[in-house]
């Protein structure tokens, strides 16, 4: 039983955990304790529940059964289990992308059929440049009228999901050398849905028994997410909801306000939370809030949808994955609206301990007994208003004596996209990646790191993210972040320009000061990891840092991961040539030495990158920096200006 300080380094989290303990409310940490010890076979990945001849286990000590009933050994079983998770992670991201593409097509419909009126509050094309640029990528003539481009583009985007042959269009964004590697390995993704189906097929009883082949199919599916579903989501969200620009905001539970109606959006799809943002500003609703005794409506976010509305509107972030229950436990939240992914079933019971209303909005994510107000893109604004109104009407039910809002809220700067980095780093002259490349080549910047991913109660919450990032920027590595990892570091004050002076090495400091950026750049939500892929491609295109993504002095890390999506992201990064470290729990593969060795050694020869499993943030930093240094050496770059 760990102490509160061992559970999280975040003071606000500690405070609410104490409140939860005092009020006998069980959180994820308590439920983890009740689950321990967790089954060793499961942890090692050698439990197979695929078919009814099982369930089978491989004895990791070599004495008992070494094969399942069908004859599958530990390598096959562990590999099958692992790639199934890739499929699920890809499904989550790609389905999200599909929903956005679908929204675009509805927009196309409404424009074509001349619907007007209330849709002034629904969606429209907000980033015309990106819209046109996308159209060009899909071979559409941008001289045509906007409505026609829209119709053609939305059709083509939706087709990416159902494609049977050919390759995904966004693959062409990758450096030519990387595209060739994929082609030679036969892992270029053909169609978003197809890759998931084929991957699942190979894991059916009695199909693929070759762990290397399973991993190859897994990589192809992961690529269909990273360069397909996720990238579609990211780019189309920018088109419809506007591309982010650097924005200053606040993060942590302290963003909840004592005298305001607090509404929390939680989940992943911003087509919903965008409308919530608009509805929260509706004068009619603000007036209603005042009528109910509040000073106004305070919208805050949790998890990726928080990142989306943060990036685009500067909406404050209440917390990351492990804080979702804690937000409710403050007793100060009138309503939490959720859509899909990373939403704990426990929220329902916890909400019943308070006045908080929990509302589900997606037909894909229901809770027994919870109010469901189904979100419909056709009537988005009205539905959002309905939900906000329910929150307002709940305000008088808040028991002020039971409510505790921690004071902690930290400033952060978010809103960095590949285009922004272009613009910012281009300085006064023109939008270009040249200064960034120059910084790396000249040795002011050692390289780049992507630190991303979730939280896991098995580790001290937020500690791994922040310790790692601090160590990296100390060594002049510019850190790009997404997801709950970004929120973790933001809470500790790493995402503000001031952090450069406090924590960054001299080289990185100089750059941050010159350009006015923090040493850690928040790129958005988990689908926005695709921004890193495109940014990396631009870096190669700019020149001077090799010809393939694996040449860039860069490394990735998911220090506190927990979801299947994290595995998929890991695989699409490795398959794209980025050395990626996973913290704490290695993938459940240790029961198969062959598979583990393949992932952590063998893959390097195949795709030019590999995984690393490590459970100490200082060691993670050491490994990543060593990798970056090696890449610098291979490129024969100048030595670092400020470090040995």
């Amino acid at each position: 039983m760990s102490t509160i300080e061992q559970k999280s380094i975040d003071v606000a989290t500690q405070e609410i955990l104490r409140k939860a303990e005092a009020e006998n409310i069980k959180t994820a940490w308590d439920r983890l304790e009740a689950q321990e010890p967790q089954c060793g076979f499961g942890q090692l990945g050698v439990c197979c529940t695929v078919c009814a001849m099982g369930p089978c286990r491989i004895d990791p000590f070599g004495e008992g059964a070494q094969v399942g009933v069908c004859g599958a050994n530990a390598d096959t079983i562990a590999a099958r289990n692992l790639v199934r998770k890739i499929a699920v992670g890809a499904s989550a991201h790609s389905d999200h992308g599909r929903d956005v593409a679908h929204t675009l097509s509805l927009l196309a419909d409404s424009h074509t059929h001349g619907k007007s009126g209330s849709h002034s509050h629904n969606y429209e094309i907000l980033d015309i440049e990106k819209f046109k640029s996308l159209a060009q990528e899909f071979g559409i003539d941008t001289q045509k009228p906007k409505e026609q481009i829209l119709t053609e583009l939305s059709k083509k985007l939706l087709e990416e999901f159902g494609k049977q042959e050919g390759t995904l269009t966004f693959i062409k964004r990758a450096p030519k050398k990387r595209q060739k590697i994929w082609k030679d390995l036969n892992i270029t993704p053909r169609g978003i849905d197809r890759e998931i189906v084929e991957l699942l097929h190979t894991t059916h009883m009695g199909v693929d028994n070759d762990y290397k082949n399973l991993i190859a199919t897994g990589m192809r599916c992961a690529l269909s997410d990273g360069w397909g579903g996720s990238m579609t989501a990211t780019d189309l969200q920018d088109v419809i909801l506007g591309s982010p620009v650097p924005v200053r905001s606040k993060v942590n539970l302290g963003v909840l306000k004592e005298n305001y109606v607090n509404i929390v959006v939680h989940g992943h799809e911003p087509v919903l939370s965008e409308m919530a943002v608009k509805a929260a500003e509706d004068p009619e609703l603000v007036k209603l809030a005042k009528k109910f005794g509040a000073e106004g409506i305070n919208l805050a976010g949790i998890c990726c949808t928080a990142n989306e509305v943060l990036m685009r509107h500067g909406i404050p972030v209440a917390g990351n994955f492990l804080q979702q229950e804690l937000a409710i436990i403050t007793g100060a939240v009138e309503l939490m609206m959720v859509d899909v992914q990373c939403i704990m079933p426990a929220l329902h019971e916890i909400a019943t301990c308070f006045h908080t209303k929990l509302v589900t909005t997606s037909s894909k994510a229901r809770f027994p007994g919870v109010v469901h107000i189904e979100f419909d893109t056709n009537n988005a604004y009205e539905i959002a208003k309905q939900i906000i109104r329910a929150g307002i009407e709940n305000y008088p039910n808040r028991k002020k004596e039971k409510a505790t809002i921690p004071v902690e809220k930290m400033d952060l700067v978010a809103g960095f996209t590949k285009e922004i980095i272009f613009q910012i780093l281009g300085g006064r002259h023109r939008a270009t990646y040249k200064p960034l490349n120059e910084a790396i080549i000249s040795g002011r910047l050692r390289g780049l790191a992507g630190v991303v991913g979730c939280n896991n109660p098995k580790q001290t919450h937020d500690y791994y993210h922040t310790a790692l990032v601090k160590e990296l920027i100390k060594n002049d590595v510019l850190v790009l972040q997404t997801g709950c990892s970004a929120i973790a570091c933001a809470k500790q004050g790493l995402l503000i320009p001031e952090a450069a002076k406090k924590y960054a090495g001299k080289g990185l400091q100089e750059i941050c000061e010159a350009v006015g950026i923090p040493p850690v750049l928040h790129l958005g939500s988990c689908v926005d990891n695709s921004r890193i892929l495109t940014a990396a491609s631009y870096i190669i295109e700019e020149g001077g840092l090799g010809e393939d993504l694996s040449d860039i002095p860069a490394a990735g890390c998911a220090p506190e991961w927990m979801s299947e999506k994290a595995i998929t992201i890991g695989f699409y990064f490795v398959a794209s040539g980025v050395y990626t470290v996973f913290g704490s729990n290695p993938f459940a593969t240790l029961g198969s030495k062959n598979l583990t060795d393949y992932l952590t050694k063998g893959l390097e020869e195949v795709v030019g990158a590999r995984f690393e499993f490590c459970d100490d943030p200082m060691q993670m930093a050491k490994l990543m920096i060593a990798h970056i240094d090696k890449k610098r050496q291979d490129l024969k770059l100048k030595p670092m200006v400020y470090h040995a």
Binding site: E36, P37, F41, D59
Partner: protein
Amino acid sequence: MKNLYYEVDKCVACKSCEVACSIAHSATGDLFKVIREEVLSLPRKKIHASKNKNYPVSCRHCQEPLCVDACMAKALEYNEEKGLVLHDESRCVGCWMCVMVCPYTAIRPNIKTKIPVRCDKCSDKDQPQCVKACPTHAILWQEEAVTKR
């Protein structure tokens, strides 16, 4: 006299032994029927984790049993011939004195049935059912002399 010994390093906490134990002491002896029995058969052994190791805990049938001394209803008795501490349900009143004093926390109270839950080395079967059920062979059923070696 054979006893249960545990190779702690081999226990992966899969709890197959707990499941097998429940089934062995159930009315139907059938996993799928067991979970629907009116009185659920609780496992007589439990796995505890401590410092990254897993420890199965079960009654050790001590030769100087503290539970027998503590029992105020004379429901527990050490049978030398069988090498077992036997429990007489007809005398037991569910006072939980045995739970209170067991130095190995090997007895749990079953509040519903008011009977203490403790291992009986499956004396009505050929061997304790957990032994076969353990997939890593972490449970040993052998003479004390063998273990001492």
